[in-house]
Amino acid sequence: MPPSDRRIWDHPILVFERGKKVRFFFEGVEVEAYEGESVAAALYAIGIDVFSYSAKLGRPRGPFCMIGKCSSCFMIVDGVPNTRTCVELVRDGMRVERQRGLAPIPSTTPPEGAEEEVLEADVLVIGGGPAGLSAALEAASYGLDVVLVDEHFRLGGQLVKQTHKFFGSKELFGGLRGFQIAEVMSEKLSKMSNVRVLLRSVAYGVFRGGWVGIASRNKLYRVRPRAVVVASGASEQYLAFPGNDLPGVMGAGGAQTLMNEFGVRPGEKALVVGSGNVGLIVSYQLLQAGVKVVAILEIMPSIGGWFVHAAKVRRYGVPIMTSHTISAAWGSERVEGATIVKVDERFNPIPGSERDVECDLILISVGLAPDARLLAQARAVMRWVPELGGPVPLRTIDLETSVPNMYVAGDASGIEEATSAMIEGRIAALSIVSKLAEGRRGVEAAEKAKKLVDFLWNEYRTSPLLSRARRGKEKATVSHEEMEKLRREFPPAASFG
């Protein structure tokens, strides 16, 4: 392997089975990658840090989220600017160029043209992560026709990059590693003939009459489902500091995608900002990938995530610096270091406490924001709930929003964690089944939903570790009567069923 190859070949947990070699052109030079890699991962693997230069100041930019939610990895691919290279698979002969400022939009449409197809479905599930997969499986197991849409080229959402074992119980996939849960669920789903999966596809809008538009590669789908489950997940929150746009400043989740999904080492020496579970887990995974973690910074006076996750990194000598934050990142075309600072009780930097640390990777893990834009667009009544990370749709206890038969589940309903997301996905699906399925099966589904609701609220969420999320979800949950009132007061743009 070439000396600049950042690919991981030996890993304690993961086995990277690389596909056959693919050759493409980067800035006119032929480079090698492996089938199944994204363009962003393949370039990163061979040591490319700068993906573009910003529009106004020409500042270097590198990938940030790695899951198609930001615009940091935009490049020109086969002449098409603004291509999200993190969700674009490598192909033989493709031409990839750095984008310098705003690139002109090509005047010709692709020669293949675009097809249109109208789909029939009982249930449309948007998002193939833990919540969406659970919803699709549950609905399909009752014989409903399901269409499952996901932006990525692989199902599983953020489960695919989770190498740690999940808590919970055996019935809830506890004890399995996240990527193994994704494998089990995807495998099950692939055997169901009444599920149609659309990958690399975006549900971009809800239209009058209950139509949903889905944009796929060179294809446009229209579907008018009887019910929808929005399980579109979350995006990583950002932090303002000088130098935060330097290549090497990355979302913690972005680094996870690189190292655990594609087996590419995101850096050599990492500084992690934020000690919630994501920051703690990613730090442990960095160590497993052979990356040194110089420190985890936490602006609060105590650690954000769960003790057991913190203990795992402390044992291997990673310092967790509470009441500390980052004040600047420096470097020219890649992070070379950071200035960190101690803060007082009001989170103001204490002058004179600045300290420089050397690192080539800065991971931001300061929280997630729910991605419920499709619901907002359908004019679901939304509420800003700080405990849940931002605006979320109001919903009934069975997760129906103010858009009739449009449900929400998982992080899109408010940030919590993957096991609750799976339970929510099932509750939403079962509630739909209870309305759509005839006779005994419908009754059975309603009972099952009730049991799960009871378990989620009266057992699972009674853990003090989930009290913040619980408080948030309480704020976002309204009674059926209240929901009817909301619907009259704020009529939705569409309805389903």
């Binding site: 304690p12 947990i13 105590s302 003790f307 509470t322």
Partner: protein, 163 residues
Amino acid sequence: MEIPSFRRTGVISVEELRSLGLLPPEERLRKGPVAILECPEQIPCNICVDACPSGAIRMDKITDIPRVDWDKCVGCGTCVAMCPGLAAFVVDLSKPNRAYVTVPHEFLPVPREGEEVWLLSRDGRRVGRGRVVKVWERNRTWVVTVEVPRELAMEVRAVWVER
């Protein structure tokens, strides 16, 4: 409510473990290997309860702190392999002048039986060297038993291999 110190540091002290009732009594430790679950936070999780072949771990509801029945526990280490929080350990003080600690391990290289490895404390200090006496694996978590000086039995919670 005051924030416990382990929430500020990520390191739980022996005193904290004792006051939470998570440590087996001295006599029990001297009888043979026994599990210590350093899991003080009511995680919604009961994997260890399900995994223990001796039925030695109790929990009424999924959000309880797991409690080991020290008399039922045979120190087999299954919970060490299965605990998603990597919070289960086994300590054995039954042999004179030395102790055995069993820890989970998920790093390369994997320790070999007979090999000397670094002994790490809860805060990541290298507190000594110890000989590995047993290694087994389940779903890519290696369960490593290492011989340690007796006074370090309650300190060592990880190992590190340098080859």
